[in-house]
Subunit: 154 residues, 4 copies
């Protein structure tokens, strides 16, 4: 009956992705929803927006943890907006709120999130993102989600 | 159709309240849900738990923003858990995530949240909490919710 | 020989104080320095700037913990600038970095800092600031510093 | 006359380094001090402690920004202790407080700091740390400091 708290997967990645990364992120979001999980991200555009859209369209819960103080900065697919005013420090919260993370493309902000996630013991899977020792890499959204769920412990 | 982002009310207050404050908090939670709003709080016990229970039992969304890193610290009525590891700094996020705040009883942590909320321009209503110049005071949960919604601008 | 870590007193208060509060803050800063302590504050103008000036002119160390990311926002009397980008959440750090706090005038931001300080167990003395149960009140800078040092345990 | 604010260099790296990394960190600290800069770090042991020691012994200012709330956690070479209670989010502050960063060895926490620093536009030089595209790598402490100061813009 009682089916909460809601388990979330963090999706992190580029704010200005190319078309493929955007498509991947949207598919990841849908696959996460179909596994019965919600999605948490940084709440802005690019990979974050695409992943939220994929998740929300598949009936999943979407949470966006914003760097700024203005909830209106969230992309239109975020259902639960957490503005923080913490700037980059909000990256820590994005990965902490999920059971594990999938990184799609991304620059130095994504790199910081991968570092934080590993430090917290969260499993992380990369999809066209930074190549790092110990980071599981996938070639497709399906593989990314499968690799991540194999590693989840929550 | 699209009905998000979900608007939230912050409920702040005592972690170890007396029976009346606990009852008030639960009623506030229920009234917030019946206004079509969700509830955000610090995610722990006492007023936070009672308010979440009232809200969830009335069909509302509940969000808990925890001071620690462990999602399992959330009370059982929190649907969306945001662990932060930020300690007291998470108080800022609790009031920022809501359109306005209701304070039920509470000590210095609640005082800090009232200060942050006023600083952010969020309307705040008190129910058996700190008496402060400019803080609207209510005598009942109904009055608290009414006073708050009269002041909301989101 | 080794004389660190340096003990600090937090001075919190109005960003736009009247002439008296500004004068008080400057005197508090000087008195803190003459006690052999440094001063930590929010790093901006008003009470923060006056207190830093008083402390620095008396040979004391001044630390400013800024809400923004730009070190250039610090007032000219801050010797050690800690930009944070945390917004209001930096208030927590300002009171945590001191052994105790003196509040000079101030609005809701100062109120939040008083709440955080009490919650942390830091002694707090007010000088023309919020009247709160349990907050020691002084009438002069000398009395404020004396009351605070009577209560310090670090 | 007036010689503040004090310019700082961030030193980040392993909490449990091998002997070489520890030696490198101490030399980096000394070289930073001899350039007239202070040092900011995470305030704990390992690379942080060695770098603080090197800097302090050469007469430089040392600042430690701690993840916890207890100032006593700082290593004995930290002169200005900033406890935060922010957990991993304090990593953001460590790199924000410096004009640039030198990373000595280090694991995922250091990786997060490198990501944050690059995101903020701070120059970063690595010494036996993560190999990353765009991260300048040095082979000795002297080279690390030289490469960093060539890139500084503050």
């Amino acid at each position: 009956m009682k089916s909460f708290p809601r388990k979330l997967i963090s999706v992190i990645g580029a704010g200005s992705p190319d078309a493929q990364a955007r498509q991947w992120a949207q598919e990841v979001g849908g696959l996460v929803a179909r596994r019965g999980f919600g999605l948490v991200c940084g709440g802005l555009g690019g990979v974050m927006e695409a992943a939220c859209r994929g998740c929300a369209e598949a009936g999943g819960l979407t949470v966006g943890i914003l760097p700024g103080v203005d909830a209106a900065q969230a992309n239109p697919w975020v259902q639960v907006v957490i503005p923080t005013g913490l700037g980059q420090a909000r990256n820590v919260l994005v990965v902490m709120a999920g059971c594990g993370a999938i990184a799609v493309a991304g620059g130095p902000g994504t790199l910081s999130e991968i570092g934080h996630a590993i430090k917290m013991g969260r499993p992380v899977v990369g999809l066209g993102t930074w190549a790092l020792p110990g980071l599981a890499e996938a070639d497709t959204p399906e593989e990314a989600v499968e690799l991540l769920f194999d590693r989840l412990h929550c």
